[in-house]
């Protein structure tokens, strides 16, 4: 063998170059790839006494380690920090729509869903229409929001449109079917005045349509449109109420007329935002930073849509959850309507008590949001820092995170519960309730406390896409709410339906904690299946 110092220098310099490009080379083939990129060919290798680049790479590879930098590049950057205060209020924004409506109800005596100013049969029809509208579209809305977010995150508007088209179509079919079914039952089985049935169907369709149109605003978490649509709707409602009353319309006609105008406004504003977010194709003008020859990645335009049956199949758990959420929420109210002296009739006393208690959910959503907002990012960072040999470390972290969230929700919930109980009288007085409302309010507050625990667990579980379990828990809760509420209401007093809510909310809170445990005890796997 001949000692060739010039070759040694050459190989050494190549090793240094390789280490600059990639300090951690795997093998000589990787070295060969880099050598070719920096311009070494078989010909150059032969000039230095090697038969090929591969032969040269075999000699260079062991030397690369000598020039490896001592420090390794940092992994990722710090997480974005936002103050808990801001997050709390951001979380509350999700319920702002409800808040605005309730404030309108208190200040103006009129809202888009409450019908306290009306004769009982009209109020019952409206209430039923609203509840049916929410129940019928709850599932479609959850499904459409989920899938639309999926496609919008991929910047794929055509498929977001596809989901919206299908959701509108099937949502429409659902509205027509449920509406026709309701009309049929009302006319054949439980005969009622046709006009009363029409009022229910009218509200049912308006609420249903609005809920379908507002999907993208919820899916994309656009706060401004949410607030704007509520304010525009209220403005229309109050102005038309004033005009109709000034024109001498009856109280019933003025109320229904103004609510109609409010809902029309809501539907139109939602349709405008739907068009803006989903159907309008933005014109892409080059920015000042983009050179004229820059070929911006094209947004997909003509895409082949997936087969909808499979999207719907994967969305079934969400459809079930979205529907059952409202079924559960209204179960005890419907029971309280059923068992009054004059048959099935709107129970304003009960309604005011429960609605006021549900207000407690608004600040609790804010508390929950402070945690949930950070969950995905924090999880990613934690998972990045834990080696695959220690999956238990992630379970411990997640359990601790969940524990902190639960403590915060429970402590805040107890605090609001105490405040609510202390201020029960004045609150119900402002809302226009009576003595029964006050009793219902006090018990319902306890139910809402447990329900908020369930909701925190539900949102947590949705992050892990554990929706079937939630739906099952809700289904049992809904059935139990009906049965317990009805039993108590029939044997005692209609207001006692609230115990159905309290008992089942307790069940939901406790069982959902157990449910969260079933997957957080296999946290790494749970995270994987949710990816």
């Amino acid at each position: 063998m001949t000692w060739r110092p010039s070759n040694a220098t050459y190989v050494d310099s190549l090793a240094r170059t390789i280490a600059e490009v990639e300090p951690n080379v795997k093998d000589y083939l990787e070295v060969a790839v880099i050598l070719e990129i920096v311009g070494v060919s078989d010909e150059t290798a032969r000039l230095h006494g090697y038969e090929s680049v591969f032969a040269l790479a075999r000699d260079v590879e062991p030397l690369v380690e000598l020039y490896r930098p001592r420090t390794s590049p940092a992994r990722g950057g710090p997480l974005e920090q936002r103050s808990a205060f801001i997050l709390f209020f951001t979380g509350m924004f999700y319920n702002l729509w409800w808040v605005i409506m309730l404030v309108a109800l208190f200040l103006g005596g009129q809202s888009l869903w409450a019908s306290v100013r009306l004769p009982p049969d009209i109020a019952t029809s409206i209430g039923l229409g609203v509840i049916l509208g929410l129940v019928a579209t709850g599932g479609v809305q959850q499904f459409a929001s989920w899938k639309m977010t999926y496609y919008l995150l991929q910047d794929n508007k055509p498929l977001a449109r596809f989901v919206m088209d299908k959701s509108l179509f099937w949502g429409g079919v659902l509205l027509i079917t449920v509406g026709a079914g309701y009309a049929l039952i009302n006319e054949l089985i439980l005969p009622k005045a046709f006009g009363i049935t029409l009022v229910t169907l009218y509200y049912f369709l308006l609420i249903g349509l609005f809920r379908l149109l507002v999907v993208p605003v919820y899916a994309m978490k656009r706060y401004l449109p949410l607030i704007l649509s509520a304010l525009v709707a209220l403005a229309f409602m109050f102005v038309s109420l004033f005009v109709l009353e000034a024109l001498g319309a009856s109280r019933t006609l003025a109320t229904i007329g103004s609510q109609s105008f409010g809902l029309y406004a809501l539907i139109v504003v939602s349709a405008v935002f739907l068009f803006e977010y989903v159907y309008r194709e933005p014109r892409e003008e080059p920015t000042a930073e983009e050179p004229p020859f820059y070929s911006k990645p094209e947004r997909p335009r003509h895409v082949r849509p997936p087969r909808f049956a499979y999207l719907a199949h994967d969305g079934l758990p969400l459809i079930a959850y979205g529907t059952l959420f409202f079924v559960y929420l209204f179960a005890d109210r419907l029971v309280s309507w059923w068992n009054q002296g004059d048959g099935f009739a709107y129970n304003a006393s009960y309604q005011v008590g429960v609605d006021m208690a549900l207000l407690m959910l608004i600040p609790l959503t804010g508390v929950k949001f402070v945690f949930i907002y950070r969950l995905s990012d924090s999880m990613r960072e934690t998972l990045r820092a834990i080696p695959v040999t220690r999956p238990r470390a992630f379970e411990q972290w997640l359990t601790a995170f969940y524990g902190r969230m639960m403590v915060a929700v429970i402590v805040a919930g107890l605090l609001f519960l105490v405040v609510g109980l202390l201020l029960a009288g004045p609150i119900i007085a402002v809302a226009g309730g009576d003595a029964t409302s006050l009793v219902v309010f006090r018990y319902a507050l306890v139910g809402v406390f447990f329900f908020s625990v369930f909701l925190a667990n539900a949102v947590f579980s949705l992050v892990f896409r554990r929706t079937w379990g939630l739906s099952l828990i809700l289904f049992i809760g809904s059935v139990a709410n009906f049965i317990i509420g009805a039993t108590l209401a029939m044997s005692a007093d209609p207001w006692q339906a609230v115990f159905g809510f309290v008992i089942t909310a307790f069940y939901l809170g406790v069982v959902s904690i157990g449910y969260v445990y079933t997957y957080t005890s296999r946290a790494v796997y749970a995270h994987y299946t949710a990816m």
């Binding site: 795997k26 591969f54 020859f293 335009r301 499979y310 990045r384 695959v388």
Partner: protein, 466 residues
């Protein structure tokens, strides 16, 4: 459009008597068809690797059979019928142990398994996840991989293995245009029905993956894992291909290094349509000495090399101009190029012309064509420029030297001064320009005509059909 799609279109369109079924493996479902399908394409099946939740969203399966498979995919069955093969696959591919036959057998068995069982449910099952986790945890190197990365790897692996759900129709021969997961369909078909499998390689899949890993892998163990996987996939292609057809001799070196015997390798050069790419009179944007380059403006094609070279050219020939045609998909790099042009005061000298659908006119609009890349296979752009009869200065990468022969000047990559010297030499010597241009065109007509390319593949296909 890329070289491989040009190649596939020329091949299918040029052989109307051969019927094709195409399996198109794409990154996402939104990829649009850029070519009109010729009549001899019987079916095109698109398999998006990403952008969907389950393969059934885009395949033609009935909902009923999907439900049947889903209902019959239980953890117990996954444990008994899938895990042993998946484990073999991991051992053989990611670990590099156990031989290619074992990996191929595991792929075949997984393919059979997915005929009756649900793909998504299997890969989301706890047994699969547990196996993968313990596989990594038990490995000396992979045990340092983070939990997050482990989940990413399993998810990505499952995306790649979606090719195992493809059931092509009965064919006389399977032909893969890349030694990647696409070729695994051919490997499985060979094992299943003994369908002959041939492989054409344009770029070198393993080499390109390694380059990508150098830039993207989050850590060393992950890079090793993926590098092993990609190498195994490439080697499986080579091992099970009846014949390997590199587009140039340069690629053959890598195939030999991967263990493919010489007698199974035959170079089939790409062919150029010399009726479309020919010398022609065009409206020149600039009447003086002009360099043209038709390249994608990115790091691999190294437009920066040409820009810096032009600063040297201008010192010698102040009225020289450079027209760079091509899209710039990388905004950062485009801005870097523009900034360099400005910094070197080359605003008058270098002009970015943007994407052109008429490269033949672009080549004819200058006097010298430059290809400044750091990496190439056997580039169509080079052959097209040669067919136009322009003298070429190109970097000595991939199959460039082999393609060019004496029809141009080859310079080292990333050496703008040498590149500039070659350009100046050509500008100052019109006779040399004409001589190299003529030789280039002649070389294309003799060695790389479209007809020759089609004849070779036609013979290959018919050979298997008979």
């Amino acid at each position: 459009m890329g070289g491989v799609s040009t190649w596939a279109d020329s091949l299918i369109r040029g052989l109307p008597d051969i019927r094709f079924e195409i399996v198109s493996i794409v990154s996402n479902p939104n990829v649009e068809l850029r070519y009109r399908l010729p009549r001899n394409v019987e079916r095109i099946r698109t398999l998006p690797l990403w952008g969907e939740e389950r393969p059934e969203e885009f395949n033609g399966e009935t909902y009923r059979s999907f439900l049947h498979r889903r209902l019959h995919t239980r953890d117990r069955f996954v444990r008994h019928s899938f895990l042993p093969h998946f484990e073999d696959f991991l051992e053989g591919s990611v670990n590099g142990d156990g031989g290619l036959e074992r990996v191929a057998e595991s792929l075949y068995q997984m393919h059979l398994y997915f005929q009756d069982r649900d793909f998504k449910k299997t890969f989301q099952s706890k047994p699969v996840f547990d196996l993968f986790e313990s596989f990594l945890a038990g490995h000396q190197l992979y045990r340092d991989i983070s939990v997050l990365e482990a989940a990413n790897i399993l998810r990505t692996l499952s995306r790649y293995l979606k090719v195992l759900t493809v059931h092509p129709g009965e064919a006389d021969v399977s032909h893969s245009a890349i030694a990647s997961i696409a070729g695994l369909i051919g490997v499985v078909e060979k094992m299943k029905r003994d369908v002959p499998f041939i492989l054409t390689e344009h770029g070198l899949y393993y080499r390109e993956r390694v380059l990508d890993l150098i830039n993207r892998a989050p850590d060393f163990p992950t890079k090793v894992l993926w590098s092993n996987f990609f190498r195994t996939v490439a080697r499986l292609n080579y091992r099970y291909a009846d014949r390997v057809y590199p587009v140039c001799k340069f690629n053959r070196r890598w195939q030999r290094e991967a263990g493919v015997p010489d007698d199974r390798i035959s170079v089939v050069y790409n062919g150029v349509d010399t009726r479309r790419f020919r010398p022609m009179a065009v409206d020149r944007p600039y009447p003086g000495p002009t360099v043209t380059s038709v390249i994608r403006i990115d790091r691999l094609k190294d437009a920066m090399n040409l820009i810096v070279a032009m600063s040297h050219v201008r010192q010698e020939i102040p009225n020289a101009r450079c027209l760079i045609y091509g899209p710039a998909p990388d905004l950062d790099y485009a801005q870097l190029c523009l900034g360099t042009v400005k910094k070197l005061g080359l605003q008058e000298t270098v002009r970015f012309m943007g994407y052109t659908s008429q490269p033949e006119a672009a080549y004819n609009a200058g006097d010298v064509v430059v290809m400044p890349s750091v990496s190439e296979g056997f580039p169509y752009a080079l052959l097209e420029a040669m067919a136009v009869g322009k003298p070429i200065v190109a970097t000595d990468v991939g199959g460039v030297r082999e393609a060019l022969g004496d029809g141009g000047i080859v310079v080292p990559p990333r050496s703008p001064r040498i590149l500039a010297d070659a350009v100046v030499t050509l500008f100052r010597d019109p006779a040399l320009q004409a001589q190299l241009g003529n030789e280039a065109r002649l070389r294309v007509q003799v060695a790389y005509p479209l007809e020759g390319f089609l004849r070779q593949y036609g013979d290959i296909y018919r050979g298997y059909a008979s």
